[in-house]
Symmetry: C2
Subunit: 224 residues, 2 copies
């Protein structure tokens, strides 16, 4: 490919990803159609397939950007807080998990359709998600793994990775059914309280069961 | 309406619900179309709307049957177990919550598309779910409320109802992302272990924080 042709193709790719991102952010993944996407990006329908193998590849590129946005969003709250008197290390790790969960709720509420597209998109059977996408997903889970590792230093890396994904899924369930009002009306403040309550309880219940640590078990943090 | 006409209408309603249930069980909610449904039920497309106001009403009837099935499924494991030596009441309540969660996983794995239809179906804006449907939903949550009430006798009925829905949502999140392999491969046995681990931890962490009870805090039940 000549340099100008490669540049044109790169420009078309960016235009298509941005157009798809706008469509998904506005109307959700189900609204993404090749014809509308071409119109939105200002190209012919056929041109889409000179830049990407199929629409799935464009959705993955959009989801990758959403994951990067979530990454930046979680990074802001995941750092350790300055040491404070009266706060045990366990309390700090518990509070960090609660902050991450609330931050996930805030992100989901703010970016509804884009966030849902992360979970709604399915590749055709037999097609695997690209490795760079999985790597970005793993970076999200690493935010959960850090405080979990402090809470459960006895777990292996594999156990921690699995537990982080399970906790993420649990919070995701509360956030998605809660935001969709699937189980009845739940005002935003209540939803935040419930997430804080359950994440803090889970973290307390997970605390390293080694006897040496049992005596340092922190007092209640969030209770209804 | 004359008696034979009313009977014919009732028969048509049942045929449509059963046809819709077969379609959803086989191919999921998205596969439900008026034309195919009429063919499957052996009636004209127009006849559907003599029996039901719209397709949504048929989906609600199918979902109602799925909830009743889930109700029977959870009922089997939700009863108190016979008293055993060495088992504190708290351990029994914790074990009951874990059994309910695993039972929910089993149900979801067995009835995939029907179970997903419970959450995928959305009524048009402004339309509310019928009261008898909400009542059946509430019966499902009451299975979770019973052991929770034993674990947290200090909570009000409203707090318990909300907490039961939050815990349900958390388990639902782990079950649905887990079964859909959304966060990477998770073998069924692992998924079961993770659910048991997290539900037991959450229940332990939720245990009545009153000092009188703190000394009876049960020992670890499920750990990775």
């Amino acid at each position: 490919m000549t340099k100008p042709a490669a540049e044109r193709r790169q420009k078309l790719k960016s235009a298509l990803i941005e157009a798809a991102e706008r469509t998904i952010a506005r109307n959700g993944l189900a609204a993404l159609r090749a014809r509308d996407l071409a119109a939105e990006a200002g190209c012919a329908v056929g041109a889409i397939y000179t830049a990407f193998p199929d629409l799935d590849a464009i959705v993955i590129a959009v989801n990758m950007r959403t994951l990067a946005l979530l990454d930046r969003h979680l990074r802001e709250v995941s750092g350790s807080q300055p040491a404070m008197a009266d706060v045990t290390p366990e309390d700090r790790d518990l509070a960090r998990l609660v902050r991450l969960a609330i931050s996930y709720l805030t992100f989901a509420a703010k970016h509804g359709p884009r966030w849902r597209a992360l979970f709604e998109h399915r590749l055709p059977d037999g097609q695997a998600v690209p490795a760079w996408y999985v790597a970005e997903q793993n970076r999200i889970f690493s935010f959960v793994e850090a405080p979990l590792r402090a809470i459960r230093p006895d777990l292996t890396a594999t156990e921690l990775a699995m537990l982080a994904r399970t906790l993420f899924s649990a919070v995701h369930g509360v956030v998605s059914l809660g935001l969709e009002q699937k189980l009845g009306h739940m005002p935003p403040r209540r939803l935040r309280e419930q997430i804080a309550l359950v994440v803090a309880a889970t973290a307390r219940g997970l605390l390293d069961p080694a006897p040496a640590r049992a005596t340092k078990r922190p007092s209640a943090t969030v209770r209804p």
